[in-house]
């Protein structure tokens, strides 16, 4: 896999900072609240560690749409937040123009009664899946076919790295907890198992 070490380090550091900033602790938050806080931290960390890509911008834009996330984002990103929030108009106009042109072409073809059964079927299948992919990939609506695949590739790599890193972090924490507990320092730690 082509995940760089720098990405892993940046991701972990950013995520820990995010945890501290959002004060993630089991006693102050409920289950749902803690889950969304952790996910927010993890996503922001992934986007920041990756740098500037179309999907990172889309991800942060999507996250900032929720009001409760905005303060956290501003805290974490600092001045980057303002820069990222500047809308890039050009990237939205191009696919819209393409769609209009394609729609007009299709109308013209329909008027000419041109029917290519097999090609149309394949194209609609691919188009349906492409649409679904656009929904899944953050910021995907404003991308054309090729850049969508490009961003998907990058996003999949980053997601995989994110999941692996979170998992390893979790196991490390658990291992360290168990080790410190098995040393017999804190007798009342049994409850920690329940959540893990």
């Amino acid at each position: 896999m082509q995940v760089a070490e720098a990405f892993k380090h940046a991701f972990l550091k950013q995520m820990l900072l995010g945890f501290q900033a959002s004060v993630v602790s089991p006693k102050s938050m409920g289950f749902q609240e803690r889950k969304s806080a952790i996910k927010l931290s993890a996503d922001v960390a992934m986007a920041v560690a990756r740098g500037t890509r179309k999907w990172t911008r889309g991800l942060i834009a999507g996250l900032s749409k929720e009001h409760q996330n905005r303060s956290f984002l501003q805290l974490i990103l600092g001045e980057q937040y303002e820069r990222l929030m500047k809308p890039c108009h050009s990237s939205w106009k191009i696919p819209r123009c393409k769609k209009i042109v394609r729609r007009s072409l299709r109308v013209c073809c329909r008027r000419k009664k041109k029917k290519n059964q097999v090609g149309v079927l394949a194209r609609t299948l691919v188009a349906k899946r492409t649409q679904e992919l656009k929904i899944l990939v953050p910021g995907g609506e404003s991308m054309d076919g090729f850049s969508l695949l490009d961003e998907t590739l990058d996003y999949v790599v980053s997601l995989r790295a994110q999941a692996d890193l979170m998992q390893s972090l979790l196991t490390t924490i658990e291992a360290s907890k168990l080790r410190s507990h098995s040393k017999g320092t804190l007798p009342e730690r049994k409850a920690s198992y329940v959540g893990n």
Partner: protein
């Protein structure tokens, strides 16, 4: 000859047999002219599978006979003093055939995971083209044969040089599967063949010129178009994709307007990305674009779900080590708001139980389960356990929750089905890892 090779490639589906027919020709002729490579002959003759059809394959009679005519006249029409360069030429040619046949004989053995047979055939055609085409190339200025080949023609000139284009990848990877001794001569020999053939082409050209005119008349309509398309296509594609050394050639009869070329470039880039995604996503042996997109979508959803589940866990205490210790004590105090006494009393026994269960899990899962059940415990998914614990923390939780808390706060508590989900196995694996103080396994 060009047209012949085009035709052969046109019937690519079963054309390997046609290629073997060609090889057979030269093999039989070669017996008369031992020349320099006796061992090659032996290997070739032994390497030819018996299943291959004989000469005169009805699929491509024209090119088989034309090839025979070509090479027979080469052999017989030469005066003896010219036989030396001719033999050298043929030796080189036959060397390529030897490689082709030996590699072909190795292909069925070395073809492992799927998709090798089309690549094997592609490679066969590559090797054949390597022989056939360099003879013809000087006659046509452009690489583009313009006879409807599917991108295989440019390969001979770029063979041996690294590159990211897909056809090259197709050619290179089967070669990696081949035996070592055949790898280096194949790649180095390719370039040597070209240089050698380049020298011998001039000698062969004069004598066989009239035979090249014959196929050229057949492909006359296509050839000038091909030649015209070649430089134009190469210019546009050279400007568009400078890192690709091969030229984008237009198919036979297609217009050379920039739209179709741009369209083709775009399609190739998309295919490249799809291939990269194919390597990344598991279970990606689909050749269809739609099903490949399906796999990508499913994998993406799976990864997103995995991150979501991981964020449900107790990652919150990861901010630092010192807060971690404090966190442990506080969470211990907080999480057991519901059920104190029973949990605290069972702590030490639970530790021992948990270690024992971890050890048993390593050996036999079934016995570990039975042991747990004997104790009145069982495995439960981590997310569910955390949900229950947090629900237990909340005083405003429903009446349902108040009863289970005391057993819930012990490890592996509730009367759930012992179906081990990945998160549950992670729990026991983690405890096993802690017990063994080995590297955490997942």
């Amino acid at each position: 000859m060009q047209h012949g090779s085009g035709e052969v490639r046109g019937s690519m589906a079963t054309s390997a047999s046609a290629q073997m027919a060609l090889h057979d020709d030269h093999g039989s002729q070669q017996i008369q002219n031992p020349g320099l490579h006796d061992d090659f002959f032996d290997q070739m003759l032994s390497g030819l599978p018996s299943a291959w059809p004989e000469l005169g394959n009805p699929k491509s009679p024209w090119d088989a006979s034309a090839a025979q005519k070509l090479f027979r006249i080469d052999l017989t029409g030469k005066p003896p003093d010219e036989s030396q360069p001719e033999a050298a030429t043929e030796g080189l040619r036959y060397a390529s055939y030897d490689e082709a046949t030996m590699l072909a004989s190795r292909l069925p053995q070395s073809q492992g995971s799927g998709g090798s047979s089309p690549t094997g055939e592609a490679m066969m055609l590559q090797l054949n083209n390597r022989h056939i085409l360099p003879v013809v190339v000087p006659l046509q200025a452009a690489v583009g044969g313009g006879v409807g080949e599917s991108g295989l023609l440019p390969l001979p000139l770029t063979l041996g040089s690294g590159g990211a284009a897909d056809p090259r990848i197709i050619v290179e990877t089967p070669r990696d599967e081949m035996d070592g001794p055949y790898k280096s001569p194949d790649q180095n020999g390719g370039e040597e063949l070209y240089s050698g053939l380049g020298g011998s082409i001039r000698a062969a050209q004069a004598a066989t010129g009239q035979h090249f005119h014959h196929p050229q008349n057949h492909g006359g309509a296509a050839a000038p178009a091909g030649v015209g398309q070649g430089p134009a296509a190469s210019a546009s594609s050279g400007g568009g994709a400078p890192q690709q050394k091969q030229k984008v050639r237009a198919r036979r009869g297609q217009a050379t307007d920039p739209h179709s070329i741009a369209e083709r470039l775009r399609r190739e880039r998309i295919a490249e990305r799809m291939k990269a995604l194919q390597e990344l996503v598991p279970n990606a042996n689909k050749t269809d674009k739609a099903s490949m997109l399906d796999e990508i979508i499913d994998y993406l959803k799976f990864l997103q779900l995995q991150v979501k589940v991981l964020s449900m866990s107790r990652l919150g205490g990861a901010a630092a080590v010192a807060p971690l210790v404090a966190d442990i004590s506080t969470e211990g105090a907080g999480a057991r708001a519901g059920g104190d006494g029973a949990a605290v009393g069972n702590n030490d026994s639970l530790t021992a139980t948990e270690h024992r269960v971890a050890k048993m899990m390593e050996e036999d899962m079934g016995s570990a389960m039975q042991y747990l059940q004997g104790k009145g415990l069982c495995l439960m998914p981590i997310s569910l356990a955390s949900a229950i614990s947090s629900a237990a923390c909340r005083p405003s939780a429903g009446g349902l929750v108040s009863a289970p808390p005391p057993p819930a706060t012990s490890a592996a508590a509730a009367a759930e089905s012992p179906s081990s989900s990945p998160s549950a196995s992670a729990l026991t694996v983690q405890s096993a890892a802690a017990a063994d103080t080995t590297a955490p396994k997942r």
